[in-house]
Symmetry: C2
Subunit: 546 residues, 2 copies
């Protein structure tokens, strides 16, 4: 394969490329400069962000849409600034590789107080042990390649982050090629697989009104086609979780909408909860995902399959992979049903009529925005009403909706748009973000200017932490007021609008869609207490537990 | 003391107040709202920042200047966003108390997938175990008060951060008053103390040219007066470390300057390295602090005392407190010396003459800035040349210089100014920050607007990561260009200047000093490769190891 073994930094870059990584997001620092130098010589492009957490969010969005992403930072001051972003990727199963520079192994003698060190030289790795599936310190050349393989394999297999610490005196050290024995992957036990498939098919075949609840793992592991096959061949209707939104094109005739318990649409909720057989595939049973546990799904009438477990009602089947189980459901053992009657769900939306002078309201804003959703747009929703409102948007293609719907970390969306844009150059990002979240990471728009991107950023300005106002109000929910629409002045590029009425919004969004040469920021002035219907329902449920 | 035991949240607030804490920095979130509600009812003021890491930096600066600081955030998405700031406080011994909301104990059953959770419910606490001296999860009322006491005692005693996790269903739970046995503090063994003091005094008394190297612990533990007494009574001249800058008023006649090995002033270096007795007090022997190990101090001619160890040459003395040891040095056992001849150091600065049309250069900029330093200003330096240049400023009073000189995390300064301002309302902050660091946290100026502060922020714009350019150049050191002086447009307040010549800077800084009603940002246009003399020397030393 190689004439002679490459140096460790080079091997790492080649392995990343073999996972389709063409961009690495990050910020340099002295402990990682030597590796940055190698990146610059390679065909991977380094993307400079303004902050490390933003680099983490960008790598996360890249990973979600491309299968793997990478961020590269310096020791501690860099790596520890990215902990929250990587924790979010862990929680939501996004395969992000974190590469951190570090003091050289030879510098570490006598517990030297080198700059950026916290307690001891292993502090950062121990922290990453908590938020990744695998970590490695490449502290000597003999095992380095093997360690790189181990971490990347784990990231690929579990779709969770991994951590590689590369001391600066190891970057140019020549490694030892080592033919790692193939782990052979995770295989099903054929007998248990048969039993599981038979049990599930019998249960589904006997049911009167089965429905599939599709979750985000179908997307992360690339099983969307298996899902579509199952839906179309067996004629079983499908709903998605919040985190799984757009795992199936939302225009599909058998797709009914997002199921999120009492938080979501009433007719969807009823259909799912009346079902005698809910086939839950690749979904995390999380609180926000399922409407703060208002979801009413019991195990006596469900099949629940993920990459971590396969359950048919109360029976668990170990040693069965999700992949094989999905193939089993797609086999002739599961009968093709009659075409379900879904007329109630196909009523279609009323066309939206702009009332030019009407003040903007969250609910109507999203209906309005829905008119402009197209195949070319990727919607990236931040948390709070940016997320709850965006649930209502009809996403035409799969993978065109990205949000931190489980971990719900504020400030994800703007930096994530940078990663999505590099991953999918033909798309245009529509970012929806609240004012509080925008104050956290909105200046990352600077990076979109730098690389010539053109996101449309809708800032929902309700003057504070809106979701919290509905749970418990106090002055702590107030924030400073920015002139968001003046951001272009700061960056010397882009277009800003500050809109208060439906007519103004209509004009702004149309201009934004027409002007593709730069970012457009639309600050939408909202009433402090205005909410989407979903948030209103959520707040009612949650305020008891706050 | 109390008629009946208070609720846990209330007890925590009262204890914080007993440590002189009047402000808590943070961002609310649903898991911490109930505690925020209690803060709002108390006499402690909540200070809303735009981001959690900024809250951490503000609490750090507050802690450095007041003796203890506190930050309050929500679970994981908040707490994990503050890891780097708290790690910096740990590395530089700043007593910051982190209070994190968390899911209620009753909600945690069956490993529920509540939002914001990463791997399990203890992930965040385990991460904080790595970057604090004590952590506590207040999971039941019987031990809660005791646990709060334990963490705060440790923070106070070690001047390092502590972590308290407060599940939302414990905030209003009534605790159990418990008379905690006094730990009695850390006491010296009288015989070992005598031996240590005698050994040190003999060594110093016999020396010809002793000098004190004063470090930051003298400030953190409030021993500045012991230092001044020692210097004045015994007539021993003194230098400070970079991190200890301003631990003694820099106008003191026995103060010679900052010692930082080959990175610093040559005459100071020679004086220290020619000394036959260097008395190192409360200094961290770190790399940047000591000029990347170019410092030439050997143990045969040093007394090295900190809160962690007491060494006289090669002899270590256990069970001796720093406090008692300092008192020992201040006793008659150490002789009063003749007045040292320090004429060489008292040459004074040449008055700075502005060359109105001369383009700005880092070196002259700091000489120029020095003309404006007064007792009313607190200088807060970010990293890189903001720090190395600021070393040259003459700080008149102690505690009026704040910087992350060991951990050197970019983006510290602007948020830290908010904390310093609340801690010392009579001061005005002069913030010096590079363009790269400003892009990380500069929007925290929004918070200064919100609370009516008036920092002067000098942005050294050398178009990228300047320190790194001198270590290893590449396109990765470039960053996007902002119109920094337009920040006032974004916030609707403040004043901005963009200056290129000495004359323009002179006018800008004078205007800034005169206009006390708002922040002033002065963007200083510098050449990409211009450096302070200290950075040039540092880069020369470091470029070999990058």
């Amino acid at each position: 394969m190689y004439h002679r073994p490459p140096v460790i930094g080079e091997y790492l870059l080649r392995k990343l490329q073999s996972y389709d990584i063409e961009h690495i997001f990050g910020i340099p620092g002295d402990y990682v400069l030597r590796f940055y130098n190698l990146i610059e010589q390679s065909s991977i492009q380094h993307i400079g962000m303004t902050r490390e957490d933003a680099a983490g969010y960008a790598a996360d969005a890249y990973a979600r849409t491309r299968g793997m992403g990478a961020a590269c930072v310096t020791y501690c001051v860099g790596g520890l600034s990215m902990v929250n972003a990587v924790a979010g990727a862990y929680a939501e199963k996004s395969p992000v590789v974190v590469i951190s520079g570090a003091p050289g192994i030879k510098e570490r003698g006598k517990d030297a107080l080198l700059h950026h060190k916290v307690r001891d030289f292993h502090t950062q790795q121990r922290i990453y042990d908590e938020i990744t599936v695998a970590t490695a310190l490449l502290d000597e050349p003999f095992t380095a390649f093997n360690e790189i393989d181990r971490v990347l394999d784990a990231v690929y297999r579990y779709k969770r982050p991994g951590y590689i610490e590369l001391p600066r005196d190891m970057v140019d050290a020549r490694g030892t090629l080592y033919q790692r024995p193939s782990t052979g992957g995770h295989l099903s036990d054929p007998d248990i697989l048969d039993a599981a498939v038979e049990d599930a098919c019998n249960f589904i075949n006997q049911s009167k009104k089965p429905i599939i609840l599709a979750g985000v793992e179908l997307h992360r592991f690339g099983y969307q086609n298996k899902l579509i096959h199952l839906v179309e061949e067996k004629r079983i209707p499908v709903v998605a979780t919040l985190l799984g939104k757009s795992v199936i094109p939302e225009s599909h005739p058998l797709y009914l909408g997002i199921y999120e318990g009492a938080m979501g649409q009433e007719d969807v909720r009823e259909f799912v909860e009346d079902s005698d057989c809910v086939i839950i595939l690749g979904a995390f049973m999380t609180d926000v995902n399922l409407g703060i546990y208002t979801a009413n799904l019991d195990r006596t009438r469900s099949v629940y399959a993920t990459t971590e477990k396969i359950n048919v009602r109360y029976r668990a089947y170990d040693e069965v992979t999700f992949d094989d189980f999905l193939d089993g459901l797609n086999s002739p053992k599961l009968r093709r049903r009659r075409k379900p009657n879904l007329d109630w769900a196909l009523k279609g939306r009323e066309p939206f009529e702009v009332k030019p002078n009407a003040p903007l309201k969250v609910n109507r804003l999203f209906q309005h925005l829905n008119e402009f959703i197209s195949d070319e747009l990727t919607v990236i929703a931040d948390v709070g009403d940016s997320l709850f409102g965006a649930v209502e948007l009809d996403i035409h293609q799969h993978t065109n909706f990205i949000s931190p719907a489980y971990y719900t970390s504020m400030g994800f969306a703007v930096p994530a748009s940078v990663g999505a844009q590099f991953s999918m150059p033909d798309t245009r990002c529509l970012v929806i973000v609240g004012d509080g979240a925008f104050q956290m990471t909105g200046t990352e728009l600077s990076t979109t200017v730098r690389y010539g991107f053109n996101p449309i950023v809708v800032v929902l300005n309700n003057h504070g932490y809106g979701t919290e106002r509905h749970l418990l109000e106090g002055t702590f929910n107030d924030i400073g007021c920015w002139n968001y629409s003046r951001m272009p002045t700061l960056f010397g590029a882009g277009r800003g609008f500050h809109v208060r009425t439906e007519g103004e919004f209509d004009e702004a969004i149309k201009t934004a869609l027409a002007e593709t040469q730069h970012f457009t920021l639309i600050e939408v002035e909202l009433d402090k207490l205005d909410t989407s219907p979903a948030l209103a329902r959520l707040a009612e449920r949650m305020s008891g537990t706050v």
